[in-house]
Amino acid sequence: MNAAAVQEPLIFELSVEGRVGCALPKSDVPHYELPKDLERETLNLPQVDELTLVRHFSRLSQKNYSIDTNFYPLGSCTMKYNPKANEVAANMAGWRLSHPLVGEKYSQGSLELIYRLQASLAEIGGFKAVSLQPAAGAHGELSGILMIRKYLLDHGETKRTKMLIPDSAHGTNPASCTMAGFVTQTIPSGPDGNIDMKALKAALDDTVAGIMITNPNTLGLFEKNIERIAALVHKAGGLVYGDGANMNALVGVFKPGEAGIDVMHFNLHKTFSTPHGGGGPGAGMIAAGKTLAAYLPGPTVAMKRGKFEFEMPEKSIGHVKAFYGNFGVLVRAYSYILLQGREGLRRIAENSVLNANYLKAKIEKTYPVKYPHSCMHEFVAMGDIAPGIRTTDIAKRLIDYGIHPPTVYFPLIVPEALMIEPTETESKATLDMFVDAMLAIAKEAKEEPELLHNAPVTTPVGRLDEVLAARNPILCYKD
């Protein structure tokens, strides 16, 4: 019987008193008493033997879709293949067993890797300096906004408390601004799907600290006015933050640092192929041009007389996390860049943009695309294509075709949004399979809508009651 279909008990439900999972060595030292008033009485963790443990987690894994098993056209997530070579690289004992505090003298391997990755990413983005401290994209955003904040305070600009954010922005953008103490003002997108220049000019006053721009934006469109926008914001006394989540469309094709972006993050778990791991860990490199380079979070790595050492950038905002960033993720990203090389990096952008445009051309007559102009590495279609059918229904029915749904209901400015990003690692054959599935579902939507409303039916569970989960939260096992 297919493991995926059978309900898997909770590890607690598999527990049997006395079972031993991992045998430990006997103590070779005397026993010491615990402080009486602090001794813990009970510890209700499960007790399972190793084989039960292995079967449990193996079967759980089989209930997942993953890049290794399924196509994942998730817009904005860049679900490209995670090379196995990166895993071998990251698991080398010299990385895995290295301690952050053993001293620079004894960590020259790690420091050199960080140094070289900093330099490679700076070159790719067209920036002066890079810090690999942030643990995720959102963490990079917070770092960048805190850098802008410190710069403005250093220059006595206490009135500038407002960040401008396009209405198509990812939710982390305004959330990061709030955490950094800014208020946000939304700038609408124009009919061409780019930032509305008139609205932007009207919003630029002496309370503006800056703007956060995603380029290409979440509609999959290149912000054509990017350099003008940066110039206008600078003239008004603000700074420009670049959200690099969509860098997959631009590697080797465009350097954001040359267009006036002052500080930008990349998501190493998107463009640079590090695995998503069911939600993380990621890594959110942050890069800066000459205005903000001194403010980067530290420590970063510098090379002095052939040796590598830590340094805090001169006006650094400080530490955004303990130690040196998600080093294990950095190893994978660096391995990837070495494998790609300068030619390979450009081919990523070329093929990801080509793949997206191909899919758009094949489905746009059936699923209207809000901005039918040529897209970059992703595009946004709309899923309400028949009476009573919503994007959710299309998404859930795709699962029955063995495909992970695209991103749904984002960006917020497109109703019934379906954001589709194939990435460059998918073959034409896979893309054609996706097109066939989407067209078949469109036909079902008109002729047999119940198939969509009841979907998915081929999964371990059907649509789940999220209202119940939120009204009566059960967040841990109770026996």
Partner: protein
Amino acid sequence: MSIDAGARYAESHEYARQEGATVVVGISDHAQAELGDIVFVELPQVGKVIGKGQNFGTVESVKAASDLYMPIGGKVVEVNAALQSDPALVNKDPYGAGWMLKVEPTNLSEMDQLLDAKSYGKTIGEE
């Protein structure tokens, strides 16, 4: 879509219904239908004084959270404790058992600035 004829309405869909010296506040049937299944209602502490148009709490569905604004200003004298365990009351009976606050109004004339049932009905496209 039902509209309580005895209440007056803010454009943001909160209602205010006078009951003796206090005013009962909640959200309209139209509002609860738009939100979908409500999973949580966050209400202020009793005793708090909140002005007209100020935020007094939030109402959450699975996929959205909406701020709630005072239709008239006043002191909160009672909140509907039943909503803690059964937020669905707002969906089932928004004008009755799904009430949210009872308020001692600071300025009763603020009621006149609200829409009456008929005008509110027009704004949401009802007869």
